[in-house]
Symmetry: C2
DNA sequence: TCAAAATAGTTCGGTATCGAAATATATGCA
DNA sequence: TGCATATATTTCGATACCGAACTATTTTGA
């Protein structure tokens, strides 16, 4: 958003907040992106690894919901990951429309290799704020996010 | 991030915050995206319109910096917008490496048409929070963002 | 003054993302 | 039972985005 908008104070506060929300999110993700880059993982791929590691086999639809993305997206992400041998697909027996995605051993060990650094990067980032500031921020973000859905 | 990670309380708070930050940003942007979609604008394109409208002619580099994107990106975004007749490019006379991007009349009027709805959508979103909550959130996000750069 | 370094943009190859439309399968209802 | 509808995924065409390598131009410094 431009910085030269002339509106009421109320509008300025809201716009300013909108901008800062985006900037903060961008900054955090940019960090993660450059971290993951050395493992040849994208954020989307890492999200899939993470979900599968912690939750076990999931369908395209479940993965998409987990990351607020459309399912047609997952096809391409999973394609790439399957090509690099990180996951396997197989069709469900009960419902033959469904495809289950599962970590391979390679995917599992890559995640275990990358996760500690990723976690500590998140901790580092967030520790810019005092613990009670973190809680406060989380509360406000939750309220904002909940109001939007 | 998975929801089943077992770490210290401190880690849980930070991870939780990280997730909520992303979710809130996604929710807000998703809204904007669906709003802009009816004008055949992407978020990137709208950002360019906005910057050019409020700041006048800018170079690729300035536009990229404004949106925390790489300049090679701008080439493609500006290409698309030039094709749809929203902006023009011309090479600077003083420094012939530089390309200045400017709004066309079509771009200007499209922005003026879209901006009010966009602004009120932002206001609506942010008004989920009380004014003093908005200020508090902005302050925390700023502190977080500043610590990251 | 002129070659090396810096800067602005583009091109290339690859992934991610979307919406719309297609395919395959499952479910529900008359 | 059988057709209409719903659901899961894929395909298609388009845009966005990244890093790396490239071209053109300007600036710097010996």
């Amino acid at each position: 958003m431009g910085t030269k908008y002339n509106g009421s104070d109320e509008e300025k506060v809201a716009l300013d907040l909108f901008i800062k929300l985006n900037r903060a999110g961008d900054s955090v993700n940019r960090r993660m992106l450059s971290r993951l880059h050395s493992s040849n993982l994208t954020i989307a791929q890492f999200g899939v690894l993470d979900a599968l590691y912690h939750l076990g086999a999931l369908t395209h639809g479940e993965l998409a919901k987990k990351h607020l993305r459309s399912p047609n997206n997952m096809t391409s992400v999973i394609d790439t990951m399957e090509r690099s041998g990180l996951v396997t697909r197989h069709r469900s027996i009960e419902d033959r429309r469904v495809i289950l995605v599962e970590l391979t051993e390679k995917g599992r060990s890559l995640f275990e290799e990358v996760w500690p650094g990723h976690l500590s990067a998140i901790l580092d980032s967030m520790n810019t704020l005092e613990p009670q500031e973190q809680c406060q921020l989380a509360r406000l973000l939750k309220k904002l996010g909940t109001g939007l859905n």
